[in-house]
Symmetry: C2
Subunit: 511 residues, 2 copies
């Protein structure tokens, strides 16, 4: 075998381990009885450790060095070059993080998750605080180990999840979001216009919702023959190769919207993964070494951009329900018999500042993220202490959204991310929102028939364009590179802000 | 950590890898779309390789040596002593098998399986022959590497699956079976007595069968809260710890018996695994290093003894259906409304020499095994050539069962075992039959109320006794040791033959 093939062979085994971790997690969330959790945790621990050992092995360094020589004269944007370049980056970063640090992180995590569940149930922040404290210390160590030059410790975290992104860029981005979304939100909350949200409530049996949702996913292009659907308490998408991409969802029997948009959201993630060139299977371009996921999407934010594009730009559009409401109504004839497409469109786009991130609408969502970004930065640079967290949270909620959590369960304890010790991934949600608008705009400018196709329910041309320009490349290009290749600019909030302003000014009859 | 703890820690990780392989296989058989098969194969290959590397590592040898010193003064029948002793045996055997040999075996297997499927479909033995040829050569090498002293090469294979078993013992055992079962079968086939098998045929919707079968499994003691049920083309039981033991089954909509007894059979396997002391999780006593399964049953044969005990001694007894037929009838009121318990009992115990092992009854089953045992021995010692296989098969079928396969698909190509390159596991089916009768006899002699309890549908006392005397020990004791501990003899065909003769003499009104 050539040096490059030896390199790929080694990476392939790391990818196998990461895919296996995905399968263990899929099973844990969709099939496993609760009694299996303890040994499953051991199995996951062993697999993670083995993946990490292989990622940081001296032997791997030698293989990478040889592969670097093999591709040295090739184009810097070729897949082969990128494979080696990205692996080198991941290898160097990983080698700088001591194994003992990762083990301590994992140990803290295995307890923190359970404590977080209890603390959230009991509204007892003090119970959880020591674990965040510990994670902050460990993550600070990790940032120092990874390195962030003259920047912010948070930059080190971003290198793991969001190639090309920095605190400086994020600060500008969130400032732009705030500058235009805050006045918009102020107008909306003082508006007299009401959305008919009551039509979403009623008797919506889970089985019927599930059946319709699966149809919808397939309509948008999800190939369930190369995947599977299951129920789980929290919806997610997970893949073990682009030929086996699964989605889960949950259905509340007394409300329609959650299940519906959860499904379209996960479908967006799945379309991305199913669209990756099968030739990239088991290569670095389908392996996220640094966050230990076997995924093909090029960053957390880019991945989120596609769940958002399908969920929001398509699924929450007037166009979409003009076309499909009849069908939805046929599936729920008694529940929806008095509603019409326009009412449904208005109901699903109801804006209301609320306490809970995952229930937030398109206008308020980014404020939830901004708050978390600022808090995570403060924790890592030491300007916010863990003890102050609940107060900081409440203050920022009031400042950004005008609502104050009555307890910490609905405040600082609401997300699981910190119980995993994860800091640095929240910005991906806002990056995704912004990027979804840029990508959708690019598609419109390059596909003259797109509007007509969407109006007539043909989603395949858009999907094909996304596959051709984005999905198939896997992790070969950074989000910025992809956006530029599509004929646009690097990440830029303007198209997203234009979209939100226009849509909600219309809905709430503003100006 | 102490030397013994270090040893357990290392074994725990091997167990994690083997459990993970089980989960990959479970998923492949119950959830995975066909398109995921290619990368799943790579994932399984990588995991097997890693497990094998760790099993044969120098480091492991040192840990075992230290653990041997740690337990040297302890009782030879203590769990701790057994853990080390069995690991030493597995380590030494594994170290003697070259990695290159295993890899070639795996490579041949990855192609052979597909070729076998085609060859079976096309009735084309010649297409498959080269792969068996290769496996015979590789398995001969493996036998030589493992070693078999003055014995038969097959003895080396038996060391992997059936502790304490030898070709000499098996030859005696099969001779005993043949001596008493052949005359019995001859009487049955010439008997005028007919079993009312037509009542098993009809419209038995899969959903209804599944619902009843799951009830039945739970009635016998399967804790579905510590497991799961799924459909799969071939029924199997698989575990990832004694707290997560799953079963699959298949239901033919035009016949009742297959699904029913498939389910009871897998339930028997599951009861064994669920009964293993949770303290043994991840230890050598819940890890079958040599066949790369993470199972707690002490041998293939011992495991099979429990599926057979529940399926045959309980599930095919007159007693059982006297008690439960009404309930079955209530589940299939139109289909079974003219039948009664005695008819049903007779129908499910119909004896008929047939071509296919998996469809065989209690009287003919062992002949199918005998034939395979003799052929595998002949292949390994060179007295049977691969080219002669179809003829040898036909000749032996006529000799033992009086039926001749009209084609190789229903002859030598029927089982998947050789497509896996597996030789040496078939005897486990007959060992299981024999052992099931010995265990059931021991239970009767030690539980005076057993007959009454079974007659009144209380299965828990039997299960508790089995857990106490067999299941909880995991792999700590050999099948022979377990039988002796239960107050009986080492493996001995007599109780089984008495049982079969008595049951079928009654059913067919012989003598």
């Amino acid at each position: 075998m050539s040096d490059f093939e030896n390199f790929l062979d080694y990476v392939g085994e790391i990818n196998d381990l990461l895919c296996t971790i995905n399968i263990l997690n899929w099973d844990a969330n969709s099939n496993m009885p609760a009694s299996g959790a303890k040994t499953r945790g051991m199995q996951l621990g062993t697999l993670s450790k083995l993946a990490q050992e292989r990622l940081t092995a001296d032997e791997f360094g030698k293989l990478i060095a040889k592969a670097e020589r093999a591709v040295a004269s090739e184009s810097k944007s070729s897949y082969r070059f990128r494979m080696v370049e990205q692996t080198r980056e991941a290898y160097d970063i990983s080698r700088r993080v001591p194994a003992a640090l990762l083990e301590e992180h994992a140990r803290n995590r295995s307890v923190a998750e359970k404590v977080w569940v209890q603390a959230k149930a009991n509204n007892d922040f003090a119970q959880f605080a020591p674990y965040i404290e510990k994670f902050v210390a460990l993550n600070q160590e990790m940032c120092a180990a990874i390195g962030y030059g003259d920047g912010h410790p948070y930059d080190a975290m971003l290198r793991r999840y969001e190639p090309g992104m920095t605190v400086t860029r994020l600060k500008t981005m969130f400032a732009e979001l705030k500058n235009r979304l805050k006045p918009l939100l102020d107008q909306i909350v003082t508006s007299d216009v009401q959305m008919p949200i009551e039509i979403l409530k009623g008797d919506y049996p889970a089985d019927q919702q599930r059946a319709y949702c699966i149809q919808l996913a397939e309509k948008l292009g999800y190939d369930i023959g190369r995947g599977q659907h299951a129920d789980s308490p929290h919806p997610f998408e997970i893949s073990f190769t682009s030929n086996d991409v699964r989605i889960t969802n949950r259905y509340k029997p007394d409300i329609l919207a959650g299940g519906l948009f959860g499904m379209i959201h996960e479908t967006g993630h799945a379309l991305y993964e199913q669209g990756i060139d099968p030739q990239l299977a088991r290569t670095p371009l389908a392996t996220d070494f640094l966050s230990q996921y076997a995924v093909g999407g090029t960053s957390f934010g880019a991945h989120e951009s596609q769940s958002r594009l399908w969920e929001n730009q398509i699924g929450r559009s007037r166009q979409f329900w003009k076309l499909h409401f009849k069908e939805l109504q046929d599936n729920f004839p008694t529940q929806l018999h008095e509603a019409d497409a326009e009412q449904f469109y208005r109901a699903i786009n109801h804006v209301e500042p609320s306490l809970i991130r995952v229930e937030a609408d398109e206008v308020t969502y980014n404020f939830h993220i901004m708050l978390r970004f600022e808090i995570e930065m403060g924790l890592l640079d030491g300007s916010i202490s863990v003890n102050d967290l609940p107060d900081v949270w409440r203050r920022k909620m009031v400042e950004y959204l005008g609502v104050e959590p009555p307890d910490d369960s609905r405040g600082v304890l609401q997300d699981i991310h910190w119980a995993f010790g994860q800091m640095g991934t929240f910005p991906a949600y806002s990056i995704g929102n912004i990027m979804s608008a840029q990508v959708f705009q690019a598609a419109h400018s390059q596909l003259p028939d797109l509007a007509v196709n969407l109006a007539e329910g043909r989603y395949r041309p858009l999907l094909d364009w996304l596959i051709e320009n984005m999905y198939r490349h896997g992790r070969a290009y950074s989000p910025d590179e992809l956006l530029v290749k599509m004929g646009g600019e690097r990440l830029n909030a303007e198209p997203y802000l234009d979209y939100v302003e226009q849509k909600y000014s219309d809905l709430y009859q503003l100006r």
